[in-house]
């Protein structure tokens, strides 16, 4: 998940589609985010690289739509419905996730286990 400045950011991502749940006139997704370019990256417990100012999933409410969709705590959100989440402020990220007109958010998330899985699967299929 670390990036080299000046190079495009590459990551192995998983697609997560979350349907928003209507609760008392609010549409909630059932998780909490932390991070952003206006925040202190050193305090992020989930990031590998402590200068990473991306948006991370810090909490998942049990039984909520996010848990059902397969979102895990500590995931870094790379895109929300096509909008980039790697260089946004905290508030911008919140706005992109809580648009009232959208019922569904399609996230691209990355986690360390994804990379390991890909590496393992690549090794287990030797090239002919």
């Amino acid at each position: 998940m670390s990036f080299i400045p000046g190079q495009p950011v590459t990551a192995v991502v998983a697609r997560v589609e979350i349907k928003k749940l209507r609760q008392d006139a609010n549409l909630i997704l059932g998780f909490s985010i932390g991070g952003g370019i206006d925040q202190d990256p050193g305090q992020n417990p989930f990031s590998e690289d402590k200068t990473d100012k991306g948006i991370y999933v810090t909490r998942i409410s049990p039984g909520g739509p996010a848990e059902a969709a397969g979102l895990k705590i500590g995931d870094k959100i790379m895109q929300v419905n096509g909008w980039d989440m790697t260089m946004v402020t905290h508030d911008q990220a919140r706005k992109k996730l809580t648009k009232k007109r959208e019922d569904v958010v399609r996230l691209l998330v990355t986690r360390k286990s994804l990379e390991q899985t890909v590496k393992q699967s690549m090794c287990s299929y030797p090239r002919p």
Partner: protein, 542 residues
């Protein structure tokens, strides 16, 4: 004894003859006589050696061992040495009669020294007085002589002269007070050489006065000048110049050395106690004088009894090696390498024997620490208990029986015995029993009772060795000082100057270093420029 000749370069004969000639002997004798009363309260019998008996643990201390007893080990060794010494030496040097006569000679010398000392002590005062009187009297004489010698031809002058008379009188008064304040003081010390600035200023003053007298004699007395106004102005100008010379004296003698520019490091040779002082521009002898004044205030009392342990170790170390030169010394060429071999052999043998010395030292010191702490605990408890028995009389106690009411001296004497034993044992363990006599302890106790001090305050004087000045002069062991210096003692101290202040028992090594030139720059910070950012880590639930 054979071992004597190869002892650590220190033979008993040379020590004995050297010791009796030092003039401090006499004061030590007086001290010994007065403290024999102290031995009443000691438990062990005190061995007071006559001045010429050999004693192994006081070689540098220059006299009989302190009546505060030597350690038991030394005692036994002393007895052993004494017995052998009496049997094996053929010549008996230093009998009691000889020692007495030597004392008498020393005593005579000291009396003569005392008389010359008092003369030297009051010389600067006398010189200052004479010059001051001369300086003050001269203008008055200048004014009076024309009036006495040719009164009829003198032109009277009016208000201008009266103004000048007023100014002369006040200036003379100021000059008188200034001379009294600066020069007519008790001398602080007797320095080896005359202070250069004082000599210069005295010469300048006398030169000034003499030249004025010369002019006066030639121009006024010989010519019998009638212009009195001119004569008065002449006298006023003399007083003005004298005041300016006095200003120069203040600047040279008092102000110049106030600004510190050297840092002086003083190390005592016996126990290495080190202090640092900041002084200004001084001549070496004046710097030595201020260092000695600081010494009496800051350095703890010199205690030769604390140094005996390392001397014992050194003596044991060397006594174990017996080097016998079996071959007759041949030519010098052959003797040199053999000496080298000898010393190398001694060093290697010494190296093998050193294995246990550090072990012994470690356990000895640990044991000593424990003993001191135990005795200290007992002492503290005893003193606290003693202090609970006495308290200040209050109003309601006035009906108490008269036998219970006592003054402070009696109160001190009453509670002293309960703590005396513990105190004496503690002082003996820390080897400071010779610093405090029974009377001084009782006096201190009375002082503490009068000032409502706590037991801890009373004890502090005995737990910690205080500065030399706290004790009475006969316990200082630091009376007569000698300045040993390579540079002339009237030259100023410079960076890298080193000199030695020698006393009978120890010396103070002094080195001078300059205080660095300090470059201070400024940086302005606008108070509004202090701005801060808050780093958050907020968590939003979506």
């Amino acid at each position: 004894m054979d071992t004597e000749s190869t002892h650590s370069g220190y033979s008993y004969h040379s020590s004995r003859s050297g010791r009796s000639n030092r003039h401090g002997e006499r004061s030590r004798e007086r001290h010994k006589a007065s403290s024999s009363k102290d031995s009443v309260r000691s438990e062990r019998s005190v061995v007071i050696n006559p001045p010429d008996s050999p004693s192994q643990d006081s070689p540098v201390h220059n006299g009989e061992p302190l009546p505060g007893e030597p350690t038991p080990a030394a005692d036994h060794e002393d007895d052993a040495q004494d017995d052998n010494w009496g049997e094996t030496t053929t010549a008996v040097t230093g009998t009691s009669e000889l020692s007495v006569s030597q004392e008498e000679v020393v005593g005579l010398g000291k009396e003569i020294q005392d008389r010359t000392h008092s003369f030297r002590r009051y010389l600067p005062l006398a010189v200052g007085l004479c010059v001051g009187l001369l300086v003050v009297a001269t203008p008055l004489v200048f004014l009076l002589l024309p009036g006495l010698m040719w009164p009829d031809r003198l032109q009277a002058c009016g208000a201008a002269c009266e103004g000048l008379f007023l100014s002369i009188s006040f200036k003379l008064l100021i000059l008188l007070v200034a001379v009294w304040a600066l020069f007519l003081r008790q001398g602080r010390a007797c320095l080896p050489r005359v202070c250069v600035y004082r000599a210069f200023l005295t010469t300048l003053t006398l030169l000034l006065t003499m030249s004025y007298w010369l002019f006066y004699g030639v121009r006024i007395l010989d010519a019998q000048d009638e212009d009195y106004h001119g004569i008065v102005q002449f006298a006023v100008s003399l007083v003005d110049s004298q005041l300016f010379v006095h200003y120069l004296a203040v600047v040279l003698l008092e102000l110049r050395h106030l600004q510190p520019c050297y840092s002086i490091c003083v190390i005592r040779s016996t126990d290495g106690e080190t202090r640092h002082y900041n002084v200004g521009q001084h001549s070496i002898q004046r710097a030595a004088l201020s260092i000695l004044e600081y010494y009496y205030r800051d350095f703890s009392l010199h205690n030769p009894a604390l140094l005996s342990a390392s001397k014992h170790r050194a003596a044991k170390h060397l006594a174990g090696l017996k080097v016998y030169n079996v071959d007759a010394p041949g030519s010098t060429a052959a003797a040199q390498p053999s000496n080298g071999n000898q010393s190398r052999a001694m060093v290697t043998a010494a190296g093998k024997r050193k294995d246990n010395a550090h072990n012994e030292l470690y356990y000895e010191e640990a044991d000593y620490e424990r003993r001191v702490r135990k005795r200290r605990a007992r002492l503290v408890v005893a003193v606290e208990e003693a202090f609970t028995h006495v308290r200040r009389m209050k109003k309601e106690d006035e009906n108490a029986t008269p036998s219970d009411i006592m003054d402070v001296r009696e109160a001190a004497l009453a509670i002293f015995p309960s703590m005396a034993r513990a105190l004496q044992k503690y002082l003996r363990t820390t080897r400071r029993q010779h610093c405090h006599s029974m009377e001084s302890i009782q006096k201190h106790l009375a002082f503490c009772l009068i000032n409502n001090m706590s037991p801890k305050a009373f004890l502090e004087a005995y737990l910690v060795p205080g500065p030399t000045l706290q004790y009475s002069p006969e316990r200082w062991m630091a009376d007569q000082w000698t300045l040993v210096s390579e540079a002339s003692v009237t030259s100023g101290i410079k960076e890298g100057t080193e000199f030695l202040l020698k006393c009978l028992d120890f010396s103070l090594a002094v080195t001078v270093k300059g205080i660095p030139y300090i470059r201070l720059t400024e940086e302005y910070i606008d108070p509004k420029s202090h701005k801060f950012l808050l780093l958050l880590q907020s968590e939003t639930s979506v």
